[in-house]
Symmetry: C2
Subunit: 337 residues, 2 copies
């Protein structure tokens, strides 16, 4: 454990420089010398020390990935894409699981300061835009997934939240629904904000009135989604459709409907977002939106690494389209035409 370049040089009867050149196949090294060195490397089982390399090159070849919670399926999908892209460019990734804790999230960024990582990919960060920009201004490199940061050297990747949300509402409208509820996912989630925007646009395009009382927050989780639906239902018993900003909350709606004796989709049509594995297995199967998470992670990371050494970035914002899967939970026609 621990053959050094020195020993290789010694055994091969050349200088460490030559060995280094062979390793990085830089410059001209006589073929014969190269073969000899390679042979010794083989023989001694030499592996270049990554730390020494990092120190010398001032590059750790390591990316940090910051996620709110690695157990949430969509985040593990992003990680998969990020790791693949990193791997393909010889980068390693350090996982930073913030455990849904904003303070922890902030703390992890210290890995930039002590140069443990060259850069960070922030997956749905909860820290503020301002904080992120502050780091960017100090020269630290970050890419962001799930939010567009207005900063020239921060690559970002999001999905077409407004678009597909609009489509969902128009779909509901076409089926004859007029009182469509929206369950949001928190005030600070850009995804949720954009989906609300799509909801509003969809209503407008369908010439349906916007009714603020049909909107409640479900904080992206099942329990709060359940409660949100009950609140809405108590305010307006005419609702016949619900667009939940994610599947978890949609499942909460399922539970609420069960308790209230409402049938899905006969009484209430439901559509969620994320296309959880569960969607196909609940009864009735839940309509949802599949987002290309792994691909998003891959693309933005690939682009990011390519531009890591450049000050100015040409391509910066990636917007990926999502796919709506209509299943039985939204399969009821209301209109009598």
């Amino acid at each position: 454990m621990g053959v050094t370049i020195q020993e290789v040089a010694l055994h091969a009867g050349v200088s460490v420089t030559t060995v280094s050149r062979v390793l990085n196949n830089s410059q001209q090294v006589k073929e014969k010398t190269k073969i000899k060195v390679l042979h010794i490397i083989q023989e001694l089982g030499y592996h270049p020390n990554a730390t020494a390399k990092s120190l010398r090159n001032k590059k750790t070849m390591t990316l940090g990935i910051l996620v709110p919670d690695i157990n949430v399926f969509i985040f593990s999908e992003f990680i998969k894409g990020i790791e693949r892209a990193a791997q393909s460019q010889n980068y390693n990734v350090i996982i930073c699981d913030a455990d849904n804790n904003m303070v922890k999230e902030h703390e992890y960024l210290a890995l930039l300061k002590n140069q443990t990582v060259d850069a960070f990919v922030l997956v749905f960060p909860t820290i503020s835009d301002d904080l992120i920009k502050e780091y960017a201004n100090e020269g630290y490199r970050m890419a962001v997934i799930g939010r567009i940061i207005d900063c020239h050297n921060i690559p970002c990747c999001v999905t077409n939240n407004v678009e597909f949300s609009k489509e969902i509402i128009m779909h509901f409208a076409k089926q004859g629904h007029t009182d469509i509820a929206f369950i949001s996912g928190g005030q600070h989630s850009n995804d949720s904000i954009d989906r609300l925007e799509g909801y509003i646009q969809g209503l407008k395009l369908s010439q349906l009135p916007f009714q603020p009382e049909l909107i409640e927050d479900g904080a992206f989780n099942e329990k709060k989604g359940y409660e949100a639906f009950k609140r809405i239902y108590n305010k307006n018993r005419n609702i016949s459709a619900v667009y939940a900003a994610n599947d978890e909350m949609a499942i909460g709606v399922y539970k609420a409907c069960q308790e209230l004796g409402l049938r899905i989709p006969d009484d209430i049509a439901v559509i969620g977002v994320d296309d959880n594995r569960m969607c196909k297995y609940v009864t009735p199967p839940l309509s949802s939106v599949k987002q290309p998470n792994t691909e998003m992670g891959y693309l933005v990371t690939q682009m990011f690494i390519n531009q890591l050494n450049e000050e100015l970035i040409k391509e910066r914002v990636i917007i990926k389209a999502s796919q709506i899967f209509y299943r039985d939970s939204s399969n009821k026609l209301i209109a009598s035409y």
Copy 2:
């Protein structure tokens, strides 16, 4: 970006040695000097360079985590525990997602050789025991989750597979089932092998005959589980209960039953393993076994790090108990007593 210890020393009017001593609060440093240095550190926004530290200390403070597939829920649970334990001891973790590819899995171990990581936590590795031992003999440190390796300095952590499997079979037997199928998860999975062992012991203890034709392999996935059940059913139409070595395969059984017109649990009782989120949402809710994955990851990693600098290891094998959740899928009494 990049204040060094030199600069701190310069500004504080002391030597780098003194600054280093303050940083690692080693030896005696006069209180006044210490305060002065700390103040300058604060002022300059100094952060010790982790790479230089690693090179000097010959310790990267980084653990590799090797998983078959980060998108599989249970693996992300392990990661969460491992990362937490690592974090609490100031270690970082590098994620290595083998994408269910044994070659990739092996390749990742190179991170040990080039000293990118100090050690590896192998989560349900598919590489052979021999290969792992070979690395161990070369002095590389690894901990293993999901398999017990017969090697003195490799900490391992598993669950009580045999025990709970035995219990499940005895539970079935008590309900009056006599023809109980087992769907395994591949020949090479220790989990599956142990669950089969528990199945056999359970039959014996219940004085039920062992019928080899009631065992088929479902490779831990839904589709193969579906096929396995059909094969078994075609061989023996008397089966009234199925123990699937994981939930995915149990879901496959659900699908097969639906196609075959068999009702769960009335005609076929089903129990799976892993306690997937889905279990509660399928119809009927699937009985399953919850394993303390996050805790296992945490415990073994904590122990591992504590013993990382020791040649001989006192505590080495951790066996954690699991919990069986009986739900409606296995809720039918067969016997006529």
